[in-house]
């Protein structure tokens, strides 16, 4: 039978994952628990380079009751319409935007319509139908209209911000809502002798912080979930061989772009995340194929402005905690798994981890079925993102050892089927709990040069001249709508310029 209610939640580790959990739990379950405690050590730095997100963060912030403008102002934030991929396809730069390519016509997807017209000699680009792509290219941004039938209501956006500032902002909020912060270094984790559940974390100064539910946000250290509970790690480095990143901020040059840029290099890729007063950069690379010095040199040679300080090195292994919920411990953020930031999914995974924890919120009985369901759902999310990221590597047309390896490596079955199906028919196979929808997959397939052998035969049942006129009309509307938006920099200056 059901046990009694959870009374004390202990979050181990600050940083964005920890404070996101603290803020969200204080809003959603705060009324029902006696205390939410967050233990962090001011000695231990958090990994807070410029961070980019998916549009879902808007929902998370709204759930917290954050004012978006205030949030952007306090985090050096900029707006993000998608990701530009340079050098991944040697023949063209392409964009993965947060919008689709227009509505279906008679049940036929817009990319299939484009493929049909292309076969008939039309030379337009499918990107002409994506409002996010068009606006980003013009350096324009404005919030979408509520009317989803309008092209100006058909896109979404995310943020690029300083994750450390975000954590600090959430900390204020969480503390206001009663979350208690304890500054201390954890030296030991005490287990209950009878069932091996976590009883308390012991601090260097001798204090013991006990609780009913523990949230492990200790980052790569995975202090509770792995070092204590040995939940196990599923290593995905055979598909995602990059294992290091060097990160550095640089001075901004001109207006911030309303997009993140990913530039492929010889043995990895480099991100560029524009914030309001600086730009975050990082080189993700495969240490067996390039030295750290070379990687640093590549990074520094590809900055827009002057480097602010020396690059910081991060080491990681792509993969996922086998059980991100084990006994009375739930791991969020890097403690739960790591996927390189190629599609800005880290914060999204924290959001969905918190959301599912709230949905499956346990009581003291810790019904194992809750953890099982949580782990099933998280596994699917991680795997769907993993496969989407692998696609970038395995379909990349670059030369070089890393890229040759990725083109030849055996793929996860689900992804292999997705690629084969798209090549055969242009159809995107979608799986349960996938983080990316059809337009995202289409952006990547076509962007990387994976073209289907044929378009949807159903598209041939649509009268060609009429379809051609319709697509031209759409491209004109998209272009006009993009030009009607304010410049991204102007929008920030007007509404949410950081004061710091």
């Amino acid at each position: 039978m059901a046990g009694s209610a959870i009374r004390r939640i202990v979050i181990v580790g600050g940083g964005s994952a920890g404070w996101m959990a603290a803020a969200a739990l204080s809003v959603v379950v705060g009324r029902r628990v006696d205390e939410i405690v967050l233990v962090e050590s001011s000695d231990i730095g958090t990994i807070g380079v410029g961070e980019a997100t998916l549009p879902t963060l808007r929902n998370f912030n709204a759930m917290l009751g954050l004012d978006e403008i205030e949030f952007v102002r306090r985090t050096q934030g900029t707006f993000k319409l998608g990701i530009e991929f340079q050098g991944w396809n040697p023949r063209r730069t392409f964009f993965h935007g947060f919008s689709d390519f227009g509505p279906d016509v008679r049940g036929v997807s817009p990319h299939q319509l484009w493929l049909k017209m292309r076969a008939a000699g039309d030379e337009s680009s499918y990107a002409d139908y994506s409002i996010a792509t068009a606006a980003a290219a013009l350096g324009r941004f404005g919030p979408p209209l509520a009317d989803r039938s309008s092209v100006l209501g058909s896109y979404s956006y995310a943020f690029q911000f300083d994750a450390t500032a975000y954590a600090a902002y959430l900390r204020t909020l969480a503390e206001q809502r009663g979350v208690k912060r304890i500054d201390g270094r954890i030296v030991e984790v005490r287990l209950r002798p009878d069932d091996g559940f976590i009883d308390a974390v012991l601090l260097q100064d001798g204090r013991a912080v006990s609780g009913d539910l523990f949230i492990d946000c200790s980052g790569f250290a995975a202090l509770l979930i792995e070092r204590t509970l040995h939940a196990g790690f599923e290593d995905w480095s055979r598909w995602l061989p990059c294992d290091r990143a060097l990160a550095v901020a640089c001075a901004p040059t001109g207006e911030p772009a309303a997009f993140t840029r990913s530039t492929a290099h010889r043995a990895g890729w480099q991100w560029r995340i524009p914030l309001q007063q600086r730009t975050g950069n990082g080189h993700v690379f495969c240490s067996s194929r390039i030295s750290e010095d070379e990687a640093a040199a590549t990074l520094l040679a590809n900055l827009d402005g002057e480097a602010l300080g020396a690059p910081r090195l991060l080491r990681f292994t792509a993969g996922r905690r086998r059980e991100s919920w084990k006994r009375n411990c739930v791991a969020l953020g890097l403690a739960g798994g790591f996927l390189e930031p190629l599609e800005s999914t880290s914060i999204h995974l924290v959001e969905s981890g918190i959301g599912r924890l709230v949905e499956l919120f346990p009581d003291q009985g810790f019904e194992p079925k809750l953890a099982e369901e949580y782990n099933r759902l998280m596994a699917r999310s991680y795997e769907s993102i993993r496969d989407f990221i692998i696609l970038h590597y395995c379909a990349c047309g670059r030369e070089g050892e890393l890229w040759d390896y990725c083109r030849k490596m055996p793929l996860p079955d689900g992804l292999r089927h997705q690629i084969e199906l798209f090549e055969a028919s242009g159809v995107v196979a979608l799986y349960d709990s996938g983080a990316f929808a059809e337009p995202s997959w289409v952006s990547l397939f076509l962007g990387l040069g994976v073209f289907p052998r044929r378009h949807d035969p159903m598209a041939d049942l649509i009268e060609e001249a009429g379809l051609s006129r319709e697509l031209q009309r759409r491209a004109r509307i998209v272009s006009g709508a993009a030009q009607s938006l304010p410049k991204h920099g102007t929008f920030i200056d007007t509404h949410c310029r950081a004061t710091a």
Binding site: G107, A119, L360, L370, H417, E420, S425, F451, R453, R454
Partner: protein, 509 residues
């Protein structure tokens, strides 16, 4: 890979449907509607002798979307197929003798999401403040009050949640679709399909008819029923037998004279070796007894059915035989199976026509050209397998969750080992109050809740999501919702299932 698409030369020029019946004519009608430019010849081969298995059947609400696709007016369909309204299924004596519960179509609640409604309802029940679940659903309350009216398009009241399907005469429905398809150029050939000729690449070249004729085509749709003449007979696609979980393998049917004023639902009554249905028809009722031949002889089943009819039988008894299961690959090369050639889940909950319809929908989304790339059929088969398995699990839950133990049939059902996927779902619900909706579900969470609740498979807790409200706020909000549902349903006229005049004549705003 080439960036130049090869479409023009690879388009299908002809499609041959093997077998008529409801699946065959549904396929013919939909194909003739979608491929309306005459670029592809559509032929259907059926024998004159093989009149459609003429049971009066039920549909799911999705059939209305199918008619929307075809551009069929409801009144034309209703008069041609002698359709009546179906708001759901009423189960009698199912959990225990004397017990009854309703599985209404549509969702529970109005303007509040399902998770919250489910959590709150379960919480009330736990606290002993329960009210009948059907009162939380517009369709459910309408069904139990015997009220109905076709909601006007773009209705913004609670009545927009009213969901309905039909009971219909399958033979008449096939005839109706045949006329529709023939009008749109489908050619009907009368003949007995005897088999198929296969070319060197393993593709079907032509159907062989008993009289020696050969009907060639690019793509073949096997609607030959249980015989699965092409997909199994010629192409050797196997059959995954599910009779260990879905034990009924026969049905005996008989229409009978009207039993007075009947509610617009299918009535399903559990019996000694299966269950008996009663379907309201425009004039009378359709009846049948689905049973397990291992537990009851055909003769005895017929006798029991006749004994329990509520009016005089209007036709001779008909016997149907089937075996629950799924074709391992419903699409092989240039042949797609639909209807019982692709699988059969029994008659409970009326999945037959729905699965034909979703099969057609998937075919249109994955429409082949003459290359018949295996990746395309693999995707079709992947989704189809998931869909059949999800629906199967929903049906198994009905049998496995009964507490009846007075008959060997029901004792066997209670003792069966569940498929892993269902065991997971049931345990998740009973231990946590959560319904796992997986991909390709035919039945939405509301349907699962109706059955769990009907079988009294109560969770040990409610989901905590509802605890975000203070108890007073929650009570007020849900009570207001219930009143809104009741007020809306009470504007509908009291009707019997075939009362079409009144459904449309009501002058609600």
């Amino acid at each position: 890979m080439s960036e130049i698409a090869q479409n023009a030369t690879r388009r299908l020029r002809s499609i041959v449907i093997a077998g008529g019946g409801t699946p065959g004519w549904m396929a013919a009608a939909a194909l003739s509607r979608v491929i309306a430019d005459g670029s592809c010849a559509i032929t259907l081969v059926e024998s004159n002798a093989a009149h459609a298995v003429g049971v009066e059947g039920g549909s799911l609400p999705s059939l209305r979307a199918f008619h929307g696709l075809l551009g069929i007016e409801e009144r034309d369909f209703v008069s041609a197929a002698r359709a009546t309204i179906k708001l759901g299924v009423r189960f009698r004596d199912w959990r225990t003798i004397g017990d009854t519960f309703l599985h209404p179509f549509g969702s529970y609640g109005v303007d509040i999401n399902h998770d919250l409604i489910q959590a709150y309802w379960l919480k009330c029940r736990q606290e002993g403040r329960g009210s009948p679940l059907e009162e939380w659903s517009v369709t459910g309350l309408a069904a139990s009050l015997g009220r109905f009216g076709v909601p006007p398009p773009k209705d913004s009241s609670a009545l927009r949640h009213l969901s309905y399907a039909y009971h219909l005469d399958a033979t008449l429905y096939s005839r109706f679709l045949r006329a529709y398809a023939e009008q749109r150029g489908v050619r009907r050939i009368e003949g007995d399909v005897a088999g198929a000729t296969i070319d060197t690449r393993g593709r079907i070249e032509s159907l062989r008819l008993a009289d020696g004729r050969a009907i060639g085509g690019d793509f073949f749709v096997d609607c030959s029923g249980d015989d699965a003449l092409i997909i199994a007979g010629a192409l050797q696609s196997g059959y995954e037998d599910w009779s260990q979980w879905l034990p009924c393998d026969r049905a005996v049917t008989a229409p009978c004279a009207g039993a007075g004023h009947v509610a617009p639902v299918t009535l399903v009554t559990a019996c000694e070796a299966g269950w008996q249905w009663r379907i309201p028809l425009q004039h009378g009722a359709g009846n049948g007894y689905a049973y397990s031949s291992a537990h009851l002889s055909d003769g005895e089943a017929a006798a029991r059915l006749l004994e329990r009819l509520e009016g005089a039988p209007l036709a001779e008894l008909r016997l149907l035989r089937f075996r629950a299961g799924r074709r391992t690959q419903a699409w092989v090369g240039n042949c797609l199976a639909l209807g019982s050639a692709a699988g059969f889940l029994g008659l409970l909950e009326s999945t037959g026509m729905h699965l034909v319809q979703t099969g057609l929908g998937r075919l249109f989304g994955l429409f082949p050209d003459r290359d018949f790339d295996p990746a395309v059929s693999a995707e079709y088969n992947r989704l189809t397998a998931l869909e059949y398995q999800r629906a199967r699990d929903f049906l198994i839950l009905h049998y496995a969750g009964s507490e009846r133990d007075e008959a060997p049939f029901w004792r066997q059902c209670r003792g069966m080992e569940l498929p892993e996927t269902l065991a997971y779902k049931r345990d998740l619900f009973t231990r946590t109050g959560r319904i796992a909706a997986l991909e390709e579900e035919t039945f939405p969470p509301g349907s699962w809740l109706a059955i769990y609740a009907g079988l009294r498979l109560w969770p040990q807790r409610h989901e905590p999501v509802v605890d975000i409200f203070t108890p007073g706020a929650a009570a007020a909000r849900f009570e207001a919702m219930r009143q809104k549902i009741r007020a809306a349903v009470e504007t509908l006229p009291v009707v019997a299932s075939g009362d079409w005049e009144r459904y449309h004549s009501s002058s609600r705003e």
